[in-house]
């Protein structure tokens, strides 16, 4: 059974009062997420990521198509017991303290008082909220609110967790902590579905991704497939490169580009085709020293920009 499954999920809005025109927020989204995966749902702003999440949470109703979570229709009570959700830029009742909020949400699951307190305390520890947990939420910074948001999503030890921009508002230290938390969730067998426009997070965490742009699914699959992991060149960093040897290599076309990094230190872009060992040998013989040699692979960003630009141009003058 898939953790998440959508079939031709579509959402149109009617915009305008006098002559309503349809606005396409999401068109025919079909995807599936297996249990235990960390799934990245990527796309630029306005692509339909939040719309999809809201459809999965039944905060909005689909115009057509279906969505199922753990085999049951999205939004059913059965499903809600087994999932957690972190909305984008979460807002909670600011007259409550962090503890009180978590205990309130926990009470909706039917936990007894002692268990509520225990769960709240444990999760606040896990997301790194210390003594501030007794302050009213109106005094919390964005980053702290984000952590509370993550905590409330995990109250019921969910089987599937939905994060909408989980890293938003966090400093680098915070982002690292949350990345580790997501990996811990994966290790526990939890399915993590998160939407983001920050690609480095997806690269670091996800086993599979889907990319949406302008309401349509543009690509999906395992990262390795998407990126093909094709090497399309090399980057050679060397120091104490003698000038004439470099010029000669450039002229011969053995070096495509030389980026100076310091006195006599260069990052050299080498073309695909010729193995770099020969050039390395020649330059070393001329007196240069090797710093690093890296294959250049297409990054997710390159792929993303290519796909999204394509999708945007498809939409043309809409």
């Amino acid at each position: 059974m898939d953790a998440i499954r959508t079939e031709a999920l579509t959402k149109h809005y009617s915009v305008g009062f006098w002559r309503p025109r349809p606005y396409l927020a999401l068109e025919g989204l079909t995807l599936s997420v297996g249990q235990g995966e960390v799934f990245g749902f990527l796309g630029p702003n306005g692509a339909g990521k939040t719309t999809t999440l809201k459809l999965l949470m039944q905060l909005i109703y689909p115009t057509s198509g279906t969505a199922h979570i753990l085999g049951a229709p999205a939004g059913s009570a059965e499903v809600k017991r087994r999932i957690g959700y972190l909305p984008e830029n979460p807002y909670f009742y600011d007259h409550l303290t962090a503890e009180e909020l978590l205990e309130y949400f926990a009470s909706l699951f039917g936990y007894h008082a002692a268990e509520r307190r225990q769960r709240a305390a444990r999760l606040l520890d896990e997301v790194g909220i210390g003594a501030e947990r007794r302050l009213q939420l109106r005094k919390f910074s964005k980053g702290m609110l984000q952590r509370v948001g993550i905590a409330q999503a995990l109250l019921n030890d969910p089987e599937v967790v939905f994060f909408d921009e989980p890293m938003s508002g966090l400093d680098p230290l915070g982002r690292r902590e949350i990345r580790q938390l997501i990996l811990r969730l994966r290790d526990r067998g939890c399915t993590v579905f998160f939407s983001s426009h920050v690609l480095s997070d997806a690269e670091a965490l996800c086993s599979r991704v889907a990319i949406v742009a302008r309401g349509r699914l543009v690509a999906s699959g395992p990262l390795s497939e998407i990126l093909a992991f094709q090497v399309h060149g090399w980057e050679l960093v060397m120091s104490q490169v003698p000038g004439p040897a470099l010029e000669c290599a450039l002229k011969e076309g053995r070096v495509l580009k030389a980026l100076p990094l310091g006195p006599d230190r260069y990052a050299l872009d080498l073309p695909l085709g010729t193995p770099p060992e020969r050039l390395l040998g020649d330059l070393t013989a001329a007196g240069a020293q090797l710093v690093s040699l890296n294959p250049l692979r297409e990054t997710l960003e390159d792929f993303f920009v290519r796909q999204v630009a394509g999708a945007t141009s498809d939409r043309g003058l809409e």
Partner: protein
């Protein structure tokens, strides 16, 4: 978890929020002060002190209650949707109907507590009044100062307030606070003119208009029915059947509004 317990959890949360709301405290404090001040006002009235205190007390309870019902009621749902705190809430095992009912019961609980506080303050002032006045004067009063019969008026006031809350909640499910306040208060005012609607044909020539007005009379909530303040101040008889029918009318209307609120809210897309 059963629906009733879920509704109760939300209700307690609403109650807790209103208790922490400074505006509410100020309102109730003001009402209590007014009760105390009514003792002074009574001095102006050439011997009618007790009547003034009774009248003022009932009017204050009704008015402050109305303000609480409207100004909290209009934001009950709207605030949650606007600020999007509803996103995380509805992802928990809580249906939209339970949410609406929980909000309503929470405000209802708040109203009951506030009314009780005001009634206690009021009876204290009345009791004090009774002690400062010689027995012959007390004997001439139509009813004792701390006449518990006045609680019948308070009871109907409470039903009225619950009805106003239901109206405010209904509007809150789909319109902004400003508009909701206007519509709710508007309905409250019109609900007092019911007698005029019934007698429209006496004023207007067109039969169709009179029929329409007559129809409106039956459909619109009749708020003047809940007002027995004058009767209880003079300790006049109010039949139990009147109290029962009026309360039942209120309850049915409330149920209608809550059902409509749930229906509207269940179909909404949250932006």
């Amino acid at each position: 978890m059963s629906a009733i317990r879920t509704v109760g959890t939300v209700a307690v949360s609403v109650f807790r929020e209103s208790v922490r709301d400074k505006v509410l405290y100020n309102l109730v404090a003001f009402a209590v002060l007014l009760m105390a001040a009514s003792y002074l006002i009574g001095q102006l009235t050439a011997g009618q002190d007790i009547k003034i205190i009774k009248d003022l007390g009932l009017a204050a309870i009704a008015t402050f209650g109305l303000m609480i019902a409207v100004f909290i009621g209009i934001g009950l749902v709207w605030k949650e949707v606007e600020r999007r705190s509803i996103y995380s809430l509805l992802s928990k095992p809580l249906s939209r109907a339970e949410f609406i009912l929980g909000k309503y019961c929470g405000l209802g609980l708040t109203l009951v507590v506030n009314v009780v506080v005001m009634v206690v303050a009021w009876y204290i002032v009345l009791a004090y009044m009774a002690t400062t006045v010689p027995p012959e004067v007390r004997a001439a009063w139509p009813a004792p100062a701390t006449d518990l019969g006045m609680l019948r008026a308070v009871g109907l006031i409470l039903v009225e307030l619950m009805l106003v809350t239901a109206i405010a909640l209904f509007f809150s499910t789909f319109s902004s606070p400003f508009l909701s306040a206007g519509l709710t208060l508007g309905l409250w005012v019109i609900g007092h003119f019911n007698a005029d609607l019934k007698n429209f044909e006496a004023v207007v020539d067109s039969r169709a208009a009179a029929w329409f007005a007559h129809g409106l009379y039956y459909v619109l909530p009749n708020f003047s029915a809940f007002d027995i303040k004058q009767q209880v101040v003079y300790a006049q008889a109010v039949p139990a059947s009147y109290l029962a029918t009026t309360a039942l009318y209120g309850a049915v209307y409330i149920a209608l509004l809550l059902a409509a609120s749930v229906a509207v809210f269940s179909r909404r897309d949250f932006k």
